[in-house]
């Protein structure tokens, strides 16, 4: 039997959630509405700032000419490849650094400096060395994502509860056993968090790379739009990016829930 107090409580939580969702949707609707209104009333320059309907039509046109999906597919493919590689690199190197503490201390300042260095500055170098192609884009994304990943996972590994490690030592566990039985499982949620950071970093890296070299992809679309001064295209590109971000965010939360079960 559920008590009235509990019913009230559950109802209140539900109502609160609904209010938040409605407000969230209202903000975007309001934003789009005002934007459309201002452009219809000619209060903003639609040549520069476009309008929701124009953006919508541009996206439909892109979809009809099949271009949209090519661009999307290219960008997604690059994100996926760099995401997977970035995590593997980040995870493996952090594990190695954990096993070899002195090496980790030696490399520490280099990693920190590499992390603060704006990776876009390395763009020209990457392009010259590996060519104006997809490889450069992925290297760019990896530079951004894997270094943060190494730093994050390594910090988490180092903060593992000493008593747990001590316990394993009383069982005569090897370093590798300590890594797999304590250090990795103790930092499960930090590892998942670093995956989350990683996907946004790959996103940044891929779009940056596409700005610099590509002939395809959403980043290219935006860059091309700005070169031919087609602001509809630029803003549509940004919109597509926003939708991609939402998609990736939903995917990650879904996977996170799956993993944490």
């Amino acid at each position: 039997m559920i008590s009235n107090e509990r019913k009230e409580y559950l109802k209140r939580i539900k109502r609160n959630k609904r209010i938040i969702l409605i407000s969230q949707i209202s903000i975007i609707v309001l934003f789009l509405g005002i934007w459309e209104l201002l452009s219809r009333l000619n209060m903003i320059d639609t040549f520069l700032l476009s309008s929701p309907t124009k953006v919508f039509n541009t996206i439909i046109d892109l979809a009809k000419s099949n271009n949209l999906f090519n661009h999307l597919f290219t960008t997604l493919k690059e994100i996926l490849i760099s995401f997977i590689l970035g995590n593997i690199i980040g995870f493996t190197i952090s594990s190695i650094l954990y096993l070899f503490k002195t090496l980790s201390k030696i490399l520490d300042p280099y990693l920190t400096i590499l992390n603060s260095l704006p990776k876009v500055a390395l763009g020209p170098l990457i392009i010259i060395v590996s060519g104006a192609n997809t490889k450069s884009i992925i290297i760019m994304a990896l530079l951004i994502s894997s270094i943060i990943s190494i730093l994050n996972i390594n910090t988490a590994f180092k903060s593992t509860d000493e008593n747990r490690i001590k316990l394993l030592k009383t069982m005569n566990a090897s370093k590798l056993q300590i890594l797999f039985h304590v250090v990795i499982p103790s930092n499960y949620s930090q590892i998942v968090d670093s995956f989350k950071v990683n996907i946004s970093m790959c996103f940044v890296g891929v779009i940056m790379g596409e700005f610099l070299v590509s002939k395809e992809g959403v980043g290219y679309l935006i860059n091309y739009g700005s070169q031919v001064f087609n602001m509809n295209l630029v803003i549509s590109g940004i919109f597509i990016l926003i939708i991609l971000t939402i998609g990736l965010y939903l995917l990650i939360s879904f996977l996170e829930r799956k993993i944490k079960k």
């Binding site: 747990r164 316990l167 394993l168 009383t170 069982m171 039985h181």
Partner: protein, 247 residues
């Protein structure tokens, strides 16, 4: 005598950036097969340190631990260390898995012990679902199921209620006696040390020396509560109590 472990002229200093902390000062102990050794002493004396050195976790500054290579230890640490991401059963099986001694029969044995110590309903639960005392019982089972030659216990019952404390300590005594295993237990509870152990070692303040060693000779067949009520028992209690408080 069946001497299985000998601590000889043991000194231990901890080195930190700021200072050198002298903890153990010329400790000499002999452990025979089947011995139950109690270690009592003021807080900070170095009791946990001593167990860590015996188990090989810490290195002595000088002196030796003499033992056969095939002597095995299981060490229940002073701080609770159940892995929060493992079920109680998996926690208890952890040592067996690490030492590649896991088998289905061993698992059944562990389940039997868990059941005996009132943790049957928690076998597939996680440590966060357990009370402090329940966690301690689980940690104890984890150490016990490794069937070590020497069981090292650091304040193993501190979170248990009095009744559980008596029963479980008595059980462990029986289990180890049956298998002719040895135990070294650090405890703040004098009664516990006297009723469980065949020898009680009193350590002084840090840097600790051995103040005295008491050989306990009580009628072992009595049940634990009767044991603790006897005149003999009280005699030991008063003696060790005075010794502990004597500066």
């Amino acid at each position: 005598m069946n001497n299985i472990l000998e601590i000889k002229n043991l000194y231990k200093n901890y080195q930190t950036i700021d200072e050198e902390v002298k903890v153990l000062d010329n400790i000499n102990i002999k452990v025979n097969k089947g011995d139950f050794l109690g270690i009592v002493g003021p807080s900070g004396a170095g009791k946990s340190t001593l167990l860590s050195i015996i188990s090989g976790l810490e290195k002595p500054s000088s002196g030796y631990i003499v033992k056969d290579d095939d002597i095995t230890f299981a060490y229940m640490l002073q701080t609770d260390t159940l892995m929060p991401y493992l079920t109680i059963l998996d926690n208890c099986l952890l040592g067996l898995k690490i030492n590649k001694k896991y088998s289905k029969e061993k698992e059944l044995e562990v389940i039997k012990l868990l059941t005996k110590y009132g943790l049957k309903d928690y076998i597939n639960k996680y440590p966060s679902d357990l009370s402090g005392g329940q966690k301690q019982r689980a940690s104890l089972i984890r150490a016990l199921c490794l069937s070590p030659d020497i069981l090292l216990l650091d304040e193993p019952f501190s979170a248990l209620d009095y009744q559980n404390r008596l029963n479980i300590s008595n059980d462990i005594k029986d289990i180890l006696k049956k298998e002719n295993k040895s135990m070294i237990i650090v405890t703040h509870d004098l009664s516990e040390a006297i009723s469980l152990c065949s020898k009680v070692i009193v350590l002084s303040n840090k840097p600790s020396k051995i103040k005295s060693i008491y050989r306990i000779d009580l009628d072992q067949d009595k049940d634990p509560i009767n044991n603790r009520m006897s005149d003999e028992f009280m005699k030991y209690y008063k003696m060790i109590w005075r010794d502990l408080n004597d500066k």
